[in-house]
């Protein structure tokens, strides 16, 4: 074996060992920082495991569940699997401010943790941008038109 080939094999071996070590460290660190994507029913069915994890809970905002206290920026609502009234849902509490398009029935993803009292505490609230581009239905813009009319008048 030529000296250069031997050196290269040694270098390759060293790189592989270093890479394996790095991968080991990386995977170890990853375990602590994994974020699980679950729907309400998936999360509830995880049992114990759900209580220690960082979770992105995705679903629809349940009808009639939104409670918003602007004084203390306390928002609570239920995230449900689907539009069905009987669908599994989870109570979410957050100090995030509901964005403009936040409303009943809209798709949301909340990031946070689930505790044993059955409350999902969220530090991040994301509203799904609908990926379909369709013209707004008649009346869909009414609310903001009205709100502008009301506030510009009082300026």
């Amino acid at each position: 074996m030529k000296a250069q080939t031997r050196n290269r094999l040694i270098a390759l071996g060293a790189l592989v060992v270093a890479g394996a070590g790095l991968a080991f460290i990386a995977l170890g660190n990853m375990g602590e920082n994994l974020v699980y994507y679950w729907t309400p029913s998936e999360m509830v069915s995880q049992g114990e495991k759900a209580y220690s994890a960082t979770i992105r809970l995705g679903g629809l905002v349940k009808k009639g569940s939104i409670q918003w206290n602007p004084e203390h920026t306390q928002l609570s609502f239920r995230v449900a699997d689907n539009k069905d009234d009987a669908a599994q849902s989870v109570l979410v509490k957050t100090s995030e401010i509901p964005p403009q398009m936040f409303r009943e029935g809209i798709g949301v993803v909340v990031e946070g943790t689930y505790d044993r009292s059955g409350v999902f505490s969220s530090s991040r609230l994301m509203v799904n941008h609908s990926n379909e581009y369709r013209p707004p239905k008649a009346g869909e813009h009414d609310d903001w038109k009205k709100s502008v009319a009301d506030t510009t008048g009082t300026r």
Binding site: V35, P98, M101, H129, V148
Partner: protein, 675 residues
Amino acid sequence: MSHSDFGYGLVLAGLAFAAFGAVVGLTSGLMRREAGAVWARRAVYGFFACMIGANLTMIHALVTHDFSVKYVAQVGSRATPVLYTVVSLWSALEGSILFWGAIMASYVLAFTLVHRKEHPRYMSLAMGTMLSVGVFFAFLIAGPANPFGTLPNPPADGPGPNALLQNHALMIIHPPMLYMGYVGMVVPFGVAVAGLLRGEIGEAWMTPLRRWTMVAWTFLSVGIILGAWWAYAVLGWGGYWAWDPVENASFLPWLTATAFMHSTMVLERKRMLKLWTLSLALVTFWLTIVGTFMTRSGIFNSVHSFTQSDIGPTFLVFIGMLAVFSIALLAIRGPVLEAEGRIQSLFSRDTSILLNNLLMVAITFTVFIGTVFPLISEAVQHRRVSVGEPYFNKMAVPPGLAVLFLMGVGPMLPWGTPDRQRVVRQFLLPGGAALVTVVACLLFGLTGFLPLLTFACAAFAGVITLRELFLPAATRMREKQENVVTAVFQSAAKARRRFGGYIVHLGIIVIFVAVAASQSYVTHVKGTVTKDKPLSIGGYTLRFKGLSEGQEPHRRFITANLEVTTPSGKVEPLAPRMNYYERSTDPIGTPAVRSVAYEDLYVSLLAFSPENGGQATFNTWIFPMVGWIWWSIPMLVLGSLIALWPSRRRAVATSTSSAPPLSEEAAPAAQKGAA
């Protein structure tokens, strides 16, 4: 003839040109026949003409609203302004792959024209390799991602491009920059493969390898930074980098390309690290293809992946083939490349560049693992996870700081064996600067281990870089009695690559400092304002003056009118807004940013309502120094331009053969010795 037929015909012709050129170029190159180069070159011209023609056809179809073309029906709309109509060429999957093809063809053409006098065997192999990649992309455009499909019953109007893309002018220049960076790596790939196939990396062949990488690297850097700026200016979540898979996809090849450009210096100086350098060139290209796949196949569920299509399998096959081919090529031809030099000292520039290379590859590796892990987890364990930002910060920040430190160490140390006393003497000033920086920060009440370490390393590397930049000029001023401007200009002209490179280094140091400051010393307040209840953040006070509405050609908007009292007592208006697009049901916010040199006040409108006489809710941040991230772009571009500026003398030298470009590196060291 319809747009569809004409455009599709051009794509097929382009595919034929690419296939022909690839076969002719590679076979004639491998069989040592020189006649093939002419034909490969003609195939490049044909490929270029077809790809540009196909893109122009699509643009024409878009502008004339020919909704019988599927892609136009998908992204076009009569209400969209012409500029955004043209831009929608790359606003969705099929069009962006078509655009890819045009950029790629332009790069191959530029390479062919610039180096046409190069050795025909090299050129045949290089053109053949690049056209093989062209075959893949032309096939993709002709088949799985065909934008020229027809609709039997064309609609009267289309939905228009994604509203997020129409929301900010940055979206017009950010994707082309990024593509020019990605696609440009095809040239160094072709050059490296040609060198490997031939079994030698001559002096003459290193120059195009390095310079074309630098061209693509500059575009890629600008593209990445503009992307961060766009996220900051449009998305309204108050950040610019989230380790999103799409961001990572652009960062990975950037890292390996950066490592590559540095290892070429060792290769040129010491005639070693040949195999390593070429591996980096191949890996970089592979990562750009993986990145395109990640961005364009919609495989990740991220904000960017608004496109879904069946190009995934085709891409995966190509990625696999590319990996097998590259590894096989390196294994088979590697033994031919012999190292002629070796590292003599641990405290030399060679060692520090090698260390920096290893660190950058390590960052690439861990970021790559974190990026693809969710895919593997979903495929194997059927669970959907994502890897959180803390992982990436933990894995990338410490080695990143080591890279910053070595950015100072490398230029400070000489090549080969250093003189110990001189190294100590050289170290005193920058070391002192780092210490003073830390003390000054503490006196100003700035704390935190990581940011202070970053500032210290930045001061260290910054002082060394400035010294390397201007010491030659200072010497000239003393010895030749030149004035400042002449001395700087002359010393820069004498060592363009060095001078340009150090300006780029300064830009990178600025980015490090800006990122550290804006991440570590951020202030965040959210709250609701009414006419009587202002909001305070830092030294700023925001007073609510009511809502107003407005109209632009493609959107309506609601503005929350604010009056800001700055810490210095100035009163200024600020108007974050919410945009409503004709064709989109969801509003998209535009945050308002008040920038001064040292900090940004960032106000994002979350919600508004007419209750209590009008109120609005905001997310507000103060980001120290964040603007410097994007203001570094001119430095990066200027540095790259200086380094790339063609020198007449060198152009002759490369085509004839091997005048080693060592003189420019040696000169400043000698001057320093004299000083």
